[in-house]
Symmetry: C2
Subunit: 119 residues, 2 copies
């Protein structure tokens, strides 16, 4: 029987050594080592988080805020290093989602089977 | 270099064969095979979800709803099979959280290191 923690550490190593993670790392470092790109990226992140928080708390988002968010997105999309970083983040997120779907399959099957039976 | 998907499937197998998952499975089946326990458990789940949804949408939760939720919790805690199931769910959740912390370590280190440097 494979040990859970051994398998988890193997997977962690595989992620760390993957092209996806290495690509994200170098894209991230490129942005972080360029002060104006770093500032622009952090501004983008902050704006996104503020809107998300408001949405989650059911607060109204003003037209001005929507406009501001849109212009920040447009700005970062035009920045080559930042748009590269965002692409790499999305690529890694997709990989993590696939991994997560694989490892939660036993749970999904367990809860899902009862769901089906109940219908 | 270990392959990510091979490692993920190994981990899935390890989870499926773990004492934690087997314990959850048998506790779950015990409740699902007992119609009155099943009904009580589903009622508990529905009540919890409704409250969570309201909370997430920033809606006010009435005193009556808090009281109802409390009495449903008390009821299920007194049911041996359901409280066993809830224990097993918590045990598996803890395991999944630990696994998740292990495999997201590369990401945490990457984003965390910049955080530290920025301070
Ligand atoms: Ca179904
Ligand atoms: Ca910090």
């Amino acid at each position: 029987m494979p040990n859970i923690y051994d398998s988890a550490y193997d997977l962690e190593k595989a992620i760390r050594e993957s092209e996806e993670f290495k690509g994200l790392k170098s894209a991230f470092e490129a942005v972080m080592n360029d002060p104006s790109a770093k500032q622009m990226f952090e501004n983008f992140r902050d704006t996104q988080m503020q809107l998300q928080e408001k949405q989650m708390q059911g607060q109204e988002i003003t037209e001005e805020e929507v406009e501001k968010a849109r212009s920040v997105v447009e700005l970062v999309q035009q920045h080559e290093d930042i748009s590269k970083l965002m692409e790499e983040e999305q690529r890694l997120n997709m990989m993590i989602n696939e991994i997560s779907q694989i490892i939660t399959k036993p749970l999904e099957e367990l809860y899902g089977s009862q769901e089906e039976a109940a219908e």
